[in-house]
C-alpha cells in the first residue's frame, strides 16, 4: 500500500489527528493490516457458496 493510499484510507476512517501526531504509527498499522489480509487472500481459494452466515434456529417455547 503506497503512502497516498494509506493517507486516503486513514482520512476516510477519521484518523486525521493520528496522521498529524503519529504518522509512523498509522503507517505501521497499515502494514500490519496488509500482512494479515495478504495471508487471508493467499490461503483462501474459497467457493462463493461457503457463506459464514449460520443457519437459522427455531426457538421452541
Amino acid at each position: 500500500m503506497d503512502e497516498r493510499m494509506v493517507d486516503a484510507i486513514a482520512r476516510r476512517a477519521g484518523l486525521e489527528r493520528a496522521l498529524g501526531e503519529f504518522p509512523d504509527d498509522v503507517a505501521a498499522a497499515a502494514i500490519s493490516a496488509a500482512k494479515a489480509t495478504e495471508g487471508i487472500r493467499q490461503s483462501s481459494g474459497m467457493e462463493p457458496l461457503s457463506e459464514p452466515w449460520p443457519p437459522m434456529v427455531v426457538i421452541r417455547k
Binding site: A13, G14, V26, A33, A36, T37, I40, S43, M46, S50
Partner: protein
C-alpha cells in the same frame, strides 16, 4: 502453617472448611508478600487490601458457624483489570480509562467467584486493552516475570501470570482473544485454560474482539483450574455468546482417571515445520508425548492448516472487531493510547469488509477441519509458545517471539485449550505445552493435563524469588 502463599486453592478451601487455616491469616500472609515483592513485579494495578480483609473476616465468621458459601470459601483471587469488580474502576491499563469511575456491578465471572466464597484481592496488570504490551509508556509499568524479572511474563493477562507464579494468590481471572490466558501460563509455568467459546460469560468484561474473546481460569495446579472453571461455567442470558450447557461442569470427578485408552493427536507440524521451535521446547513436547503414551494413551499424528493461516484469520477478525470498539477514541484521543496499542488497534481501519467476510468464511472451514480431527482423536497435543519468554526490554524480540505461538488457532475455532509447563530451560525459564479438546469436553482436557502434571510434578515449580 508455613508457606501459605504456595497453598493451592482447593487445599486452602479444604483447610478453611476444616478450620485449620483462617481466611484472615491467609489474606494477611498474601498481602504481606504482595507488599514486599510486587514493587519489583508490578502484577497489581490496585491492591484492595481493606475490602479483602473485610471479606476474610466475614468468611472466617461463617466458616466458624459451619456455613460455607461454596467451593472457594475464603480463597483469594486476583482479577485482570479489564474485568469489572464492584466498587473499583476498570482501567484496562490505559490512560483512556485512567480516571474511570468505579464499576457498579461485578462482571458475571466475578459474581460467580464471589458467590462461591472467593475473596477479591485486587485488580491486575494487563497489556493495554488486552492488546498493547508490554509497554513502558502507560500510566502503570508492565508486569514482569518472577522467573527472571528482566523477561516478560507473557500477556495480555500478564499480572495474572506474574502474580500466580510469585505466590500472590492461588487463582486469577484472565481473558484470551489470541492466546492471552495461555501465553502467561506458558511464560510463568502456571496452568491457564481458554474454555470453549460460550462456556464462561463475558458480561462485564471490556471486549477486545467479540467473536474471539474468552474468560479463563489461571492457577498453579490443574486441579485448581478444574475447580475454578466449574465455578465460572454456566449460561448467562445477558451474554449473547453464552450457551445453554449440554452437560454438568463438575470437572473434579474425572480428574484422576488417567489417560489409558484416550487417543491423543500430536500436531507436530506446528512446531517442526510451520514455526520451528526452540530445541528445548521441542524436547519438552516430546517428553509429554512419551509420558502420556507410557501412561496408556494412543498417540497419533494429526495435521491441520498451517499456523500462519490460522494467525491471518485471527488477526483480520481481531483487528476488524477491535476497530469497531476503539475507532471513536482512536479518532479523538490517539495520544491517550500507548504506542503498541495505538498501532495494533488502528490496523482495523485498513481492513476492508471483503477481507473480514473472507476471514469469516475461512474460519468456518478451520472449525470443520479441527472438528474432523477431533472425531479421530480425543485430545490434541501441540506447542503453546515456540520460545521461552524473551527480555522485556527488547521490543523487536518481543514482536518476533509473540508471533511464534500455536494458540490463535483455537480462538479462531473456539475449542477449549489449556497451556501448562513442561519444565524449565537451561536458563531457568518456563517451557510449555498445550492440550486442546472437543467443544465442552474440558473434563478430558483436565484429565490429560493432570496426568502430565502428576508424572512431571510441574505443580512443584516455583521461581527462586529473592526476598
Amino acid at each position: 502453617m508455613s508457606e501459605l502463599h504456595w497453598m493451592a486453592a482447593n487445599a486452602a478451601a479444604a483447610a478453611i472448611a476444616s478450620r485449620e487455616v483462617s481466611p484472615v491469616e491467609l489474606v494477611k500472609a498474601l498481602l504481606d508478600r504482595i507488599e514486599r515483592l510486587d514493587p519489583r513485579l508490578n502484577a497489581f494495578l490496585h491492591v484492595d487490601a481493606e475490602a479483602a480483609l473485610k471479606e476474610a473476616r466475614a468468611t472466617e465468621a461463617e466458616a466458624a458457624k459451619g456455613r460455607l458459601r461454596g467451593a472457594l470459601h475464603g480463597v483469594p483471587v486476583g482479577i485482570k483489570d479489564i474485568i469489572d469488580v464492584t466498587g473499583l474502576p476498570t482501567t484496562c491499563h490505559s490512560k483512556i480509562f485512567e480516571n474511570n469511575v468505579a464499576a457498579r456491578t461485578d462482571a458475571e465471572c466475578v459474581a460467580r467467584l464471589r458467590a462461591a466464597g472467593a475473596i477479591i484481592l485486587g485488580k491486575l496488570s494487563t497489556h493495554e486493552f488486552a492488546i498493547g504490551g508490554p509497554s513502558f509508556d502507560l500510566p502503570w509499568p508492565p508486569a514482569r516475570n518472577p522467573w527472571n524479572r528482566d523477561h516478560h511474563p507473557g500477556g495480555s493477562s500478564s499480572g495474572s501470570g506474574s502474580g500466580l507464579a510469585a505466590g500472590f494468590f492461588p487463582m486469577a481471572l484472565g481473558t484470551d482473544t489470541g492466546g492471552s490466558v495461555r501465553n502467561p501460563a506458558s511464560a510463568c509455568a502456571i496452568v491457564g485454560t481458554k474454555p470453549t467459546y460460550g462456556l464462561v460469560s463475558r458480561r462485564g468484561v471490556f471486549p477486545l474482539a467479540f467473536t474471539l474473546d474468552h474468560v479463563g481460569p489461571m492457577t498453579r495446579t490443574v486441579a485448581d483450574n478444574a475447580l475454578m472453571l466449574g465455578v465460572l461455567a454456566g449460561h448467562d442470558p445477558l451474554d449473547p455468546g453464552s450457551v445453554l450447557l449440554p452437560q454438568s461442569c463438575d470437572y473434579m470427578k474425572t480428574l484422576e482417571h488417567g489417560v489409558r485408552g484416550l487417543r491423543i493427536g500430536f500436531v507436530r507440524h506446528f512446531h517442526e515445520v510451520d514455526m520451528p521451535a526452540d530445541p528445548e521446547v521441542v524436547a519438552g513436547l516430546d517428553r509429554v508425548a512419551l509420558t502420556l503414551q507410557s501412561e496408556g494413551a494412543d498417540l497419533i499424528d494429526v495435521r491441520l492448516s498451517a499456523l500462519q493461516d490460522f494467525a491471518a484469520v485471527n488477526r483480520v477478525i481481531l483487528q476488524s472487531e477491535a476497530w469497531s470498539i476503539h475507532s471513536e477514541w482512536l479518532r479523538n484521543r490517539p495520544g491517550d493510547y500507548g504506542r503498541l496499542a495505538r498501532r495494533r488497534l488502528m490496523s482495523g481501519a485498513f481492513i476492508d469488509a471483503g477481507d473480514y467476510v473472507l476471514a469469516s468464511r475461512q474460519r468456518s472451514q478451520m472449525i470443520g477441519e479441527v472438528e474432523a480431527a477431533l472425531r479421530e482423536v480425543d485430545i490434541l497435543l501441540c506447542a503453546s509458545s515456540m520460545d521461552p519468554a524473551c527480555r522485556i526490554d527488547e521490543p523487536e524480540e518481543i514482536v518476533r517471539t509473540y508471533m511464534r505461538q500455536a494458540r490463535t488457532p483455537f480462538n479462531v475455532t473456539g475449542h477449549p485449550a489449556l497451556a501448562m509447563p513442561t519444565g524449565l530451560s537451561r536458563d531457568g525459564l518456563p517451557l510449555s505445552v498445550q492440550f486442546v479438546g472437543r467443544y465442552f469436553d474440558e473434563a478430558n482436557l483436565f484429565r490429560v493435563a493432570r496426568t502430565w502434571e502428576r508424572a512431571a510434578c510441574t505443580d512443584a515449580l516455583h521461581p527462586p524469588l529473592v526476598e
